[in-house]
């Protein structure tokens, strides 16, 4: 059952008893009515609705969807592609999985409306390789939708035609980066492209204009087309419109996935009311609020938020509203909505060691700073945990991270640096003391993280 604080739009039918991923079920719930309605409207009108909605991309960067669509080169004479980024792989993020597995037609309807609005004739769903069932479910759903004339030639009996194919990845986080994804879809090593000049909106898939949208984002498009951009903008808060899918993992009583109006509840209510607070006898220590790349928050730190009127708000983590701008104001990001909670059993050196191993494993290796820096950071934290830790290692780690961020081909440079930079900045003492920590007997409840 959804929590009373939730407002379920995208997740309306997730885990609903009796709801199944087949077309018949979707049609019983009024499915594809919005698509039918939308293909009667001029495409530009739909783009305007999305612009009016203020929808921000749900993949992590929070880029305005309407603006993204606006940047598409429509004069090149080349086909325009839409790619659905279903490569959900930011650690801590697990929202698209449920849409794909339980409500695939909602996604397909959102894709078709978006394709129609942008005059796209070919869409690809790039789904991570670790979702084999998800890929099959989507393929079945597309086949059903095609048979019912919602996908393929002359959809809903009109002149518009558009095909969707599912393309499976094979275990690479970098394919979540849109240009890495495009290279992967082209059958190459997924080395991200250099921007400029290779902005997907102009030189994307096969050097044609391309839109890459996250699964959740496209589902929102369906609801925007349904209720109108203006009405959608009334959900959530200005500049952070609509609802937001949030996943909570780690050390809370009731982890899980939820949907809230953006900015309408705080991190504190999420973790304490919705997720039941810390495990018995434990205290929250640190929170990664928007996927593993977002900068970590200390549970005892204070955030001074300067308001436009000059007043300063004094927030603890529990006061931060769940929206893009509030997290940004606190020096981190809402990112992909994956909240990872760590309690007082966790040593932050070890937690960072875990994440550094992830980033070293996932660095594509194309450009020097990320390739060499991510593995170096992994080696340092691994040595600290399994070998000799030095007092100066924290500083070294941060310095290595500083040499990566902002100097790489793609945002992976930031993604792999921000954890190290923020862990060391906020828990520097723990890094300095780690050599001493190791000399003490290991607590019985210690976790193995690296």
């Amino acid at each position: 059952m959804p929590h009373p604080l939730e407002r379920r739009v995208i997740f309306q039918h997730i885990d609903e008893p009796g709801y199944s991923p087949d077309l018949a079920c979707y049609l019983r719930q009024g499915g594809y009515a919005v698509l039918r309605k939308s293909v009667q409207r001029p495409p530009a009108e739909l783009i305007d609705e999305v612009k009016r909605s203020g929808l921000r991309g749900r993949g992590g960067a929070g880029f305005l969807c309407g603006l993204k669509w606006n940047l598409v080169d429509r004069k090149s004479g080349k086909p325009i592609y839409l790619i659905v980024n279903a490569d959900e792989s930011e650690p801590g993020t697990f929202k698209d999985r449920y849409i794909i597995h339980q409500d695939p037609h909602q996604l397909i309807e959102g894709i078709m409306i978006s394709c129609y609005a942008n005059n796209v004739k070919q869409a690809y769903i790039y789904i991570r390789g670790e979702f084999p069932h998800g890929a099959r479910i989507l393929e079945t759903a597309i086949a059903e939708a095609r048979a019912a004339n919602f996908v393929g030639p002359n959809i809903c009996g009109g002149a518009y035609s558009c095909e969707i194919y599912v393309h499976r990845g094979a275990g690479a986080y970098i394919c979540g980066e849109e240009t890495g994804l495009i290279e992967s879809l082209e059958g190459k090593r997924p080395y991200p492209r250099i921007k400029p000049p290779f902005f997907p909106a102009v030189l994307g898939l096969y050097q044609c204009p391309t839109i890459v949208n996250n699964v959740e984002t496209l589902c929102h498009v369906k609801h925007i087309a349904d209720i109108g951009g203006g009405a959608y903008a009334g959900i959530g808060t200005p500049n952070n419109t609509g609802t937001r899918l949030i996943g909570v993992s780690g050390h809370v009583q009731r982890p899980g996935y939820f949907e809230f109006e953006s900015g309408k509840i705080t991190l504190g209510r999420l973790l304490h009311e919705v997720c039941g607070g810390p495990l018995p006898g434990r205290k929250f220590k640190a929170i990664i609020p928007g996927g593993s790349s977002s900068k970590i928050l200390r549970c005892d730190e204070r955030f001074k938020i300067k308001q436009k009127d000059g007043t300063v708000l004094d927030w603890g983590y529990e006061d931060i509203p769940l929206d893009f701008d509030s997290f940004a104001a606190c020096g981190t990001m809402g990112g992909s909505g994956g909240v990872i909670v760590m309690d007082d059993r966790v040593n932050l050196v070890e937690a960072l060691g875990n994440l550094n191993a992830f980033y070293a494993h996932e660095s594509c290796g194309q450009c020097t700073p990320c390739r060499e820096g991510s593995l170096w950071m992994k080696k340092i934290t691994a040595r600290m945990v399994h070998g000799e830790a030095r007092v100066e290692d924290g500083e070294l780690l941060k310095n290595v991270a500083d040499q990566i961020a902002g100097r790489t081909v793609c945002p992976f440079g930031e993604a792999c640096s921000w954890p190290t930079q923020s862990f060391v900045q906020k828990f520097g003492d723990e890094f300095k003391a780690y050599a001493e920590t190791k000399r003490q007997p290991r607590p019985v409840d210690a976790l193995t993280l690296v």
């Binding site: 390789g129 082209e186 059958g187 993992s249 937690a351």
Partner: protein, 163 residues
């Protein structure tokens, strides 16, 4: 290359999904691995020829993606999520439990040939960790007890098969 007719048919079909043949590298690798269990040198060269590429173009891709294997694995492939959310809930212990159950180590085929156990990175099931995939199936909240139960099930299936 000895591929089943239905696999060959699917290969020819999937190539039509793309305006550029090279895009079919990943789908073809998946199809070949599904049938043959791993990607052999012969498969790389066959796919390259099929898509009018050089073998190195396919080889570069095969070695980039951890899901493609160049060697056979055990009958069942156990992939334990190693990343933070699962580790916070005991992912490392889960993996060790599987290793103990099958008397093997990560990355190797167990002595009975039944399983290969591996750590993998985030499976996007962080709210129900530790997450484990056994072949294509996801298992959630796999603590040590559940790992033992899953291991027992695999062993039982193996015993039934050899009977």
């Amino acid at each position: 290359m000895n591929l089943k007719p239905e696999t060959l048919q699917r290969i020819d079909e999937v190539i039509t999904h793309y305006p550029v043949k090279r895009s079919a590298v990943l789908p073809l690798l998946h199809l070949v691995q599904e049938e043959q269990g791993y990607i052999s040198r012969e498969a790389i060269e066959w796919i390259a020829a099929k898509l009018e590429l050089q073998p190195i173009n396919v080889y570069e891709v095969v070695t980039f993606y951890p899901m493609f294997r160049q060697h056979p694995v055990g009958r069942r492939h156990i992939k334990v999520c190693r990343t933070l959310s699962c580790a916070l809930n005991g992912g490392y212990r889960t993996c060790e439990e599987f290793e103990k159950e099958f008397a093997t180590q990560r990355g190797a085929i167990s002595p009975d040939g039944e399983v290969t156990i591996e750590f993998v990175e985030c499976l996007a099931s962080c709210g129900s960790g530790p997450a484990v995939m056994i072949d294509d199936d996801l298992h959630e909240k796999v603590d040590c007890a559940k790992a033992r139960a899953l291991a027992a099930q695999i062993k039982a299936e193996a015993a039934a098969r050899t009977k």
